[in-house]
């Protein structure tokens, strides 16, 4: 994996890596170390000194009903966001793949939402479902359904899921479409000559062939729903009602900055750090496999 030909000297390369090292040290390693360090202490009530409590913050954290609930909330939220963004994207990509003419135009049109920030997506969906002025909630009202995501926990969850999944459809569509276009035509045609119908061909041949992409998107979307949906949740529900949409990342924010509970927030960061580590390892293991594929 190393270059055969290299340049001599060691002062220049050190100078070249210095900017990145400096920024990583100041804004990455020091804060990450602080998060781990702070998770072992609690400040006294006056904020004058801190006391070492070992794993006390973690014990306290996992005995906290709201924290355990936020694990469950995060799990449900990520599964729903992943499904709600993968399935429509796959469906659209399969159809677009059958079209010779126009697929490019549809692709250009479908890319748009990717460029829309999650927080803006939140504002757009909030506007549609606003309990007073929202168009969708008004028409739902006409149909006899009283939409109120401010009070109803399930509706709040549904709304943040829809708003989070919306922008991801573009992203997933692009990857599915590329994967489908790369499936060798000879295979599909051979199956067609053998008389296999479209959906049968899809499930028995195409889907296994694009399964690396499918798995890759599964991991990427879960990571997305963990971290990048903060803007959606903050604009639409602020974690409510009754913490029904408080995910792990949202809780770090609300405990650390709103509640000023630094020890707990730091312990939560460490728990999340471990979770991300596991997800990253899964991703890398899979990428190795994909290279062999």
């Amino acid at each position: 994996m190393d270059k055969r030909v290299t340049f001599k000297g060691w002062a220049l390369p050190l100078l070249l890596v210095f900017p990145q090292l400096l920024i990583s040290a100041v804004f990455f390693f020091y804060p990450a170390g602080q998060a781990i360090w702070q998770s072992l202490f609690i400040p006294d009530p006056f904020g004058l000194s801190t006391q070492f409590v070992g794993l006390g913050n973690f014990e306290f954290l996992f005995s906290d009903r709201f924290y355990r609930t936020s694990f469950l909330t995060t799990a449900i939220f990520s599964i729903l966001v992943t499904l709600a963004s993968l399935l429509p994207a796959l469906f659209l990509a399969v159809i677009a793949d059958r079209l010779i003419k126009g697929a490019g135009v549809y692709r250009t049109l479908l890319i748009w939402p990717y460029a829309v920030a999650p927080a803006i997506a939140g504002v757009l969906w909030l506007f549609m479902f606003n309990t007073r002025v929202g168009v969708v909630s008004w028409y739902l009202g006409q149909l006899g359904y009283d939409w109120n995501h401010v009070l109803n926990e399930h509706e709040a969850m549904g709304l943040v899921v829809l708003a989070s999944a919306w922008g991801r459809i573009s992203y997933n569509f692009l990857f599915f479409f590329a994967a489908l276009q790369a499936v060798p035509r000879s295979i599909i045609e051979a199956a067609a000559i053998d008389g296999a119908r479209f959906w049968r061909r899809f499930f028995t041949m195409v889907l296994p062939l694009i399964s690396p992409t499918l798995f890759f998107l599964l991991v990427v979307n879960i990571v997305y729903s963990f971290f990048e949906t903060f803007g959606v949740i903050h604009t639409i529900t602020s974690g409510g009602p009754q913490q029904a949409t408080t995910t792990l990342v949202y809780k770090i924010f609300s405990d650390g900055f709103v509640g000023q509970d630094l020890g707990s927030s730091a312990a939560q960061s460490v728990v999340l750090l471990i979770l991300v580590g596991v997800l990253t390892i899964v991703q890398f293991k899979f990428l190795e496999k994909r290279v062999h594929y």
Binding site: V5, F7, G9, W10, L12, P13, L14, L16, V17, P19, Q20, I23, S24, V26, F27, F29, Y30, P31, Q34, A35, Q38, F91, L92, I95, R98, I100, Y106, L110, I111, W112, P113, A115, V116, A117, P118, A119, I120, V123, L124, F127, R132, V133, V135, W138, I169, Y171, L174, Q181, A182, R185, E189, I193, V220, F227, F230, G231, H234, A266, V276, T280
Partner: protein, 293 residues
């Protein structure tokens, strides 16, 4: 991710793989429906930005644009709610370009050092940089905030930009790319007596042009769409970025939000990233695929 599959130039035998007749029609209908559904939230925001507040607060609001386009956008850009939207647009632009350029520059330099030199601590630096891939800023948010506050960088562009470029995705991308460049080029440069930086500027940089452009597109959107970090770091409204500033435009309490101005701001917040994505579609898709590998 281009169209790798060779579509036959002559029409294939009817009814085999490509659909024709009613089925082809149906595919287009599905695609158009899909595009319309995906587009609806953006359309509705656009309509809301061209009507009066009264049109919106008496639901249902109209579904076709009104005549108040210039009035609403003018009001948003010059007055806004807390601060003129034009100011927030400039802040976002500086932040997004700062993140994209900053990250590309430090990554190019350190990737060059890691690939083309053997220097003490090289492997160590490599793993150090590798570690930064694991932790998004959301996880170490509280300590990072403390560091930035400690440097007095709250409400500054440096405070907005630097913590977000402390990750190594781009370094890895460039490393992968440099590894594919034939050794003969560096060999020739060395034989000619070219100094390393000469090789970097005259050969490596021009060869990386496409990768740099693709990465710029991805990083620009990443920077533009940031929400949580600007929310914490910019307490002064005149430093707000547009994506985080929109939430600040909602009144607290029971006052009715100024929907036409808020929606005009949402549209304004989408325009730069949408232009970048749609106009540089090929580069964008390439950057997307590269940065996820």
């Amino acid at each position: 991710m281009t169209n790798t599959r060779n579509h036959p130039t002559q029409a294939p035998p009817p009814g085999m793989v490509e659909k024709r007749g009613s089925s082809l029609w149906l595919s287009h209908v599905f695609m158009i429906l899909g595009v319309l559904l995906v587009f609806f939230p953006i359309w509705l925001a656009f309509v809301a930005s061209t009507v009066t507040q009264a049109d919106i607060t008496r639901p249902p609001m109209p579904l076709l644009p009104g005549a108040h386009f210039f009035e609403n956008y003018g009001k948003a850009l010059t007055a806004g709610v807390n601060v003129p939207v034009a100011t927030m647009l400039i802040n976002s632009l500086i932040m997004a370009i700062g993140i994209a350029v900053g990250k590309i520059v430090i990554s190019l330099l350190s990737a060059f050092a890691i690939v083309y030199f053997r220097f003490p601590g090289r492997t160590f630096f490599f793993w150090l940089i590798f570690l930064t891939l694991m932790l998004p800023v959301e996880v170490r948010i509280v300590p990072t905030y403390e560091v930035v506050a400690g440097f007095g960088l709250l409400n500054s562009y440096s405070g907005l930009i630097f913590p977000l470029i402390a990750s190594a995705t781009a370094t890895f991308l460039f490393r992968q790319f440099f590894m594919t460049i034939p050794d003969e080029l560096a060999e020739a440069a060395r034989v000619d007596g070219a100094r390393p930086m000469r090789f970097f500027f005259d050969i490596l940089l021009p060869m990386s042009r496409t990768n740099v452009a693709a990465l710029f597109v991805i990083l620009f959107i990443y920077g533009w769409n940031q929400y949580l970090w600007p929310l914490l770091v910019t307490t002064d409204p005149s430093m707000n970025t547009i994506v985080m500033g929109i939430k600040q435009m909602f009144p607290s309490g029971d006052d009715t939000a100024d929907w036409p101005v808020i929606m005009a701001t949402s549209i304004l917040a989408m325009i730069p990233p949408v232009i970048v994505v749609v106009s540089m579609q090929k580069l964008f898709i390439r950057g997307l695929v590269d940065s996820e590998k």
